[in-house]
Amino acid sequence: MGNASGREEDAAAVDGDGADVEDGGGDSSVRSSERAFPPYGSVGANHVRRACSVGVVGGGGGAGSPPGSPGHSLSPRMFVPQTPVPPLQRAADVTPVFNQILMNDQEEEYDGPPQKEIPSLIVWTLGGKNVYVEGSWDNWKSRKAMQKSGKDHSLLLVLPSGVYRYRFVVDGERRCLPDLPCETDAMGNAVNLLDVNDFVPESVESVVEFEPPLSPDSSYSFQAPEDKDFAKEPPALPAQLHLGVLNSQNSEESCARPQHIVLNHLFIEKGWGAHPLVALGLTHRFESKYVTLVLYKPIER
């Protein structure tokens, strides 16, 4: 799955959001064994995740012995039904009546059949003390406080299927996550998009719309490249790849953080001074650290 933040987390590891925990001294059982995955094709699967029930195994221990390591305490959360304004519907879902409502840009409530509400997790990963989220699900009327879990802040919302706009308020400042789908509103403010979707295909192969169309035979030719093809200038190197991995100074201090575009590209400088050698530069990321290695190799005679 697309993993926007580079972390691979289980969809169930939601720091207690939506946890369904039994009371009592015994082991809590997992109420639902179903693992829910993000909707196929949703971007930033790490930030917006479906919730699922999580069980907690309680640590026992008699009164006369020091307690063992405390487990992660997951607090059950009550989901209060919400009455959101109509979300933006997908083209497939839109009825002619609703089309009219959207075109007129009205904001009155839609008295259609009750829709299935889907838990969706919103996660803010860029730090801050007080983080709130506001969105089009209630016509931007309220700010909901996000729960701090580790370094992240998260909030579980139960919303009908649809596309919503939302943004974060971090320590009083309106922010959005650049890694996730976003758009700019009429005022020029960036907002994130939340695609709440109850559809999870079991396998891509079973979905007809994912099958690529066959290329027409006429698009192929049997002409081999000729000298004139090779005589053409090679395409220009993108400007951002001119950032000199090889030219930056070796430093005992931390270097500037490299742009992601240069990662895992091999930079080559042939002939170093008058010496018959080649310098190979490679920048790669290891967890949250960036390492640029410059390997000096002799040129084989």
Binding site: A63, G64, S65, P66, P67, G68, V245, S248, Q249, N250, S251, E252, E253, S254, C255, A256, R257, P258, N264, W272, G273, H275, L277, L282, H284, F286, E287, S288, K289, Y290, V291, T292, L293, V294, L295, Y296, K297, P298
Partner: protein
């Protein structure tokens, strides 16, 4: 003195406490609400203790504990002067308070400021906590650039690259093994020059030109290994893992008498490069200083003067004892003598003084790399070159440099901050008016002291 409460909240009919502060004699604990308690009036320091509950020796697993050489586990507590650890227990069913506990005074009142031994013990405890609970991965810069040399590179080119890039040591990459297999250091350059100095004008330059690094490494083993190969035998590359604690990494560097150690990744990643960075004592010290600033207590030793701290290498005229003899050299001394001392004493630098004995500069092993510029080494004989000449070459290449010094009246904090400056490996302790060399404090000295 600090009131320190010890409690056993895990039940039992009777409980006693014994510890290093009681001479390991048992003292009964009073039942306060639902837990057994006892309060001791203790001077600041690090203490071990155990509980005897219903005749069975117990430890509180929720508190810090240590294991001694006999495998016995004891809890450990750090008593600090500026913290008041005795707090009112939460009201229990009977609504009792601290006064129902047993208060004992087992030691004579003694201020921590009057007892440097206790201060050192407390400070080492704080430092070891930081070094044990942080990994070398956390010290690695967010972004760094490292030069690596292929083992098939000719030695002459290798030293030229090291000089031009300002490097005193470089990891070596072996294509066949697909990993870092060794290090090329300034010491290699010194050993090579000494090996070749007899006939360097005839064959030396060509030998450097043609021989790859891998061949030099083999030749070094044969030339300096001795008949039994004991002096310099082939050994696997010393390295650490990115998950190793800072304490382990510092000990690895100190015990192996190296200046830095490669950090390898615990788990291979998509890059296929197992090498993450080089760990140095300076990097660890810089991280340690930042953590010490966050510490509330246990760091009073930082404000003590060097006079009162057993750290560093000292000149005999100061009357201070040190594990090794402090040498100085005159500017007019032959460079060969300087290199002899560096190799014999297994040190990385030596203070250089003028005719009056005042500090002029410090010559270190890494300074020898200046001779790689324009093949200077091929046109000189080490016996005829003075330290003054060698320093002049150094100044031509890099300009006149600052020599980092301190006084015996400087505090430990000032010394640590000085050694955290990039490029500073040591501080020369001088007498302020005459600039006579009194001692030298290296990064190795600091960590040898901190790790006890």
């Amino acid at each position: 003195m600090v009131m320190q409460r010890f409690s056993w909240p895990y039940g039992g009919r009777s409980a006693s406490l014994c510890g290093s502060f009681t001479g390991w004699r048992e003292y009964p604990m009073g039942l306060v609400g639902a837990e057994f308690q006892v309060v001791f009036d203790l001077p600041p320091g690090v203490y071990q203790y155990r509980f005897l509950v219903d005749g069975v020796w117990r430890c509180d697993e929720t508190k810090p504990f240590v294991c001694d050489e006999y495998g016995l586990i004891s809890n450990e507590v750090l008593v600090e002067n500026n913290v008041q650890p005795v707090v009112q227990p939460e009201p229990s069913i009977r609504g009792t308070n601290l006064d129902e506990g047993t208060v004992l005074t087992t030691m004579p009142p003694e201020s921590s400021s009057q007892n440097p031994g206790v201060q050192i013990a407390v400070f080492r405890h704080v430092v070891s906590g930081i070094l044990l609970h942080n990994t070398i991965y956390e010290v690695v810069p967010l972004s760094s650039k490292l030069a690596v040399l292929d083992t098939q590179l000719p030695v002459k080119q290798a030293f030229k690259i090291m000089h031009d890039e300002g490097l005193a040591l470089v990891p070596l990459w072996d294509d066949h093994q697909g990993t870092i297999t060794g290090m090329l250091t300034a010491l290699d350059f010194v050993l090579m020059l000494r090996k070749l100095q007899r006939n360097i004008r005839v064959t030396g330059n060509e030998e450097l030109e043609m021989h790859p690094i891998s061949a030099w490494k083999e030749a070094k083993l044969q030339f300096y290994g001795g008949p039994d190969g004991a002096a310099m035998q082939r050994r696997p590359l010393i390295h650490v893992k990115d998950s190793d604690s800072l304490a382990d990494v510092a000990l690895t560097i100190i015990r192996n008498e190296i200046s830095s150690v490669p950090i390898f990744k615990c788990m291979p990643d998509s890059s296929g490069v197992p090498f993450l960075n080089l760990a140095t004592l300076q990097g660890i010290l810089k991280f340690l200083c930042s953590k010490l600033q966050e510490q509330a207590g246990g760091c009073s030793l930082l404000h003590n003067q060097l006079l009162s701290i057993p750290i560093g290498t000292w000149s005999p005229h100061t009357g201070r004892s040190s594990s090794r003899h402090l040498r100085t050299l005159l500017l007019s001394s032959p460079l060969n003598t300087c290199l002899d001392f560096l190799l014999e004493d297994r040190v990385s630098s030596i203070p250089i003084v003028d005719d009056k004995g005042a500090l002029h500069d410090v010559y270190s092993l890494s300074d020898i790399m200046a001779l790689a510029k324009n093949d200077v080494y091929a046109r000189i004989e080490l016996e005829q070159v003075t330290v003054q000449n060698a320093l002049d070459v150094q100044y031509q290449v890099h300009g006149r440099r600052q020599c980092y010094t301190c006084l015996q009246t400087n505090t430990l904090l000032e010394v640590l901050e000085g050694l955290s400056i990039p490029g500073v490996r040591r501080l020369v302790v001088i007498e302020q008016s005459t600039r006579f060399v009194e001692g030298i404090i290296s990064l190795r000295d600091i960590f040898t002291f901190l790790l006890g």
